[in-house]
Each structure stands twice: as C-alpha cells, then as structure tokens.
Symmetry: C2
Subunit: 218 residues, 2 copies
C-alpha cells in the first residue's frame, strides 16, 4: 500500500480517480484547490465526500495567484461562461494559464512533505484538444522533472489519460459510485445549468453509458 | 527586445539576474513571492529596487501554501536557522519541498498571461549540492515541459546556471551594481547575522572578489 496524493476537485473525473486509488489499495490523501472558481460548490461536495470516506483532505486557498493569472472566465466575474461544446474556440477562455503545472507542483510539494510516492490527477483524452496541459506529452514531461526535482522522486499518475469521460464514468459506475456526490457545472448556482461546456460533456458521458445523471438540472 | 519575467527575491543572485536581463535589452517584469519567509525584509528591498528602476513588479502572497509544504526552517518560527556552511547536512532543513517548481510554474503562468517569452531565475552552481531543483538537469526538464504546457512556449532562462556566487558577483560588480540594495540573511533582523549559510556564502563571494560587502552586519 503506497501513500498517494489525489488532486480532487469534486468533479466527476477526480471523484472517480479518488475512488480508483482507494480501490487499488492506496493510502489516499485528497487535495483540493480553491482558486476562486465560480463553481466553488464543487469544493463543498468534495469535503462531504472525503468526510464520508474518512480520508485526510486539504483544501488550499490559492486565490492570491489570480492576480498573476487572471485571463480566464472560470475565475473572472465580468466574463460570461461560454455555453456549448468544449471544442468551440470560445471555450479557450476557460483555460487558466499553466493551471495543471501549478496544481501539480503544489501537489508534488505536499507529497514530498508527507512522504507520499505519487500524485494522482484526472486528465483524460477528452481534455486534450482544448487544454495543452492535459496531453500525454505534458504528463510525460512533468514525470521527467518530478523524478529529479526533490530528494525523493514523485510519480505523476494519470489513470485515465487515454480514456474519455464516458469511459471514466463507465469505470466509476462499475465500481458502484454515486455521481450525485459530484459537481461539474462551471456556474456555481443551486442546480447545474446543463449548458456550459462542462455540463454538456457530463450529460454526453451519461448518455453514452445509457444512464441518467442523478444531478438536478435547471 | 523580448518581454521577460524575472523571479526576483531581493537577494544578490536575482538582483544580478534582474540587471543582466535589463542590460541585455529585455522588457523586464519582476516577480517576487511572499511565502512567509523570515527574511521578508528582502521583499522590502526588492520593492525599493524595482521602484528605482521603474519596472513593473508584482509581489504575490503564497503563504497559504505553507499549510502544504511546511517542513522547512525558512518558514517555521519554531525551528532555529542553522548556522555555518551550506554544504552541511543541517542546511537541508532550509529546503522547501519542490520550491522552484512551484515558483517557476507560477511565473510561467504569469508569463503566459502577459505575453512574455521567458522566465529568468537565479539558480547557480553553488546551489547544486543542496538544492535538487537548482541543478542543470532540473532546469533542462522544466524547459522541456514549459515548452508544451501552454499554447505559447515559455523558455526558462538561467544565465548563471554554471557559475558560482563569486562569479555572479563579479559580473554584477562589472555592471557597476551596488549590493547595498540586496538582502541575503535568512534571519530577518535589522542587520545581517553573518552566521547563517546564506550570509557565509555571501561573505565568501565578496572575499573571492577582494571586495568588502557594503551591508551592515551584527
């Protein structure tokens, strides 16, 4: 049993990764980031889940860095969240510059601090088109540097790197997971909007699995 | 003239890098991090210098991440700063886990946001023995990932990577820099202590250049 850090946003991908790591017998430390996302509701959901699983969970406030990297509609309140499918050009406004390198480097620091061997995160093939820092070559190169950046090598583990969102959901459903305990919508309202790129992808994944999403939609 | 970000702590190495980048004709954006260091005095000095140079300067508060990576005497108030030379084993307590990957990833995000081409930082050969994330192989691998992590490649530039501290100082003195405008001591008191690893290294660098350090010591 290895001690591992799981970057856990509260969304369905990292929710599945979290459970995958637990099922694989690891000693899991969940790590969430509050970067001022409008969908901060996912952090509330994340905290409930880790409490239920009785695993350690840190939520780190990194909102101060928005002063540096604020070119994204995910953290700005003056920009509308684009609607429609991820592949559309407008979705590029949801890209936070260097987001995954920042989150991974913090998670690696945490892993070194607690003596963990690996950092798990939930990049998948559906993200490749729009997010450069979700591609396999990015993960490979982060692994290359993560092996030598500290006295102890830390592995970057991305269990669903070559799977799409529907396949992740399939694995989660096979594990018996309840996706009511996840939050995906980029708009942080009471119910999911069903229209933003994140909602559209989520609903497509459920449709591909011939299942109904247990979440309430507007 | 390229737009570049310089990670600038206020210490003598990054002070020299900052001026090197300016002399090389770049459009320099200085970036400092407040990570709760006891020697926060270096940030005050840094702000004075950038004001004098009339260049943009951001100081980002990342103290929240100490909750994640707090195993270091540089940020803890309950651990004594070790005295003596850097190479001694006790100096390992001054290592902040994954520090440079974290700072570089934030600086890369900033560079992307402002359309800069490169991030300069002040690692040098004297750091290699104690800090894994100051070695040439670390810089190489950070460059490898930084080229593909965003839509625009960002270069990691380390002008003094193969030089030691005395050689950096030699270059700075040749540029006519006044090292009174720098702060090195790990203890954040009025005058430099002259005993911590940072002070010892600094004094050795001045001695190697047959020059007297303009700073006041206790």
């Amino acid at each position: 049993m290895a001690k591992v850090v799981v970057i856990y946003s509260g969304g369905m991908d990292s929710f599945t990764v979290l459970h995958r790591a637990i099922r694989d017998g690891h000693d899991v430390y969940a790590l969430s980031f509050d970067y001022g996302q409008r969908h901060v509701k996912e952090l509330t959901v994340a905290a409930e889940v880790t409490r239920g699983l009785n695993i350690p969970h840190k939520i780190v406030d990194i909102t101060a860095i928005n002063e540096l990297i604020s070119n994204s509609s995910l953290t700005s309140t003056s920009t509308a969240i684009p609607e429609g499918h991820y592949e559309e050009a407008s979705m590029q406004s949801t890209v936070v510059p260097n987001r995954n390198m920042i989150l991974l480097s913090l998670a690696i620091g945490y892993a070194v601090s607690i003596g963990a061997e690996a950092v798990y995160y939930g990049a998948h093939s559906g993200d490749h088109a729009i997010y450069p820092d979700c591609r396999p070559e990015f993960v490979q190169r982060m692994n290359d540097v993560s092996r030598i950046a500290n006295y102890e090598p830390i592995e970057i583990a991305v269990p669903y790197l070559t799977n799409d969102k529907a396949e992740i959901l399939r694995d989660g459903l096979a594990m018996g997971l309840d996706y009511k305990n996840t939050w995906t919508c980029y708009n942080g309202r009471d119910k999911a909007c069903g229209k933003c790129g994140a909602c559209v992808e989520r609903l497509e994944a459920f449709a591909a699995n011939n299942t109904v999403d247990p979440l309430a939609y507007e």
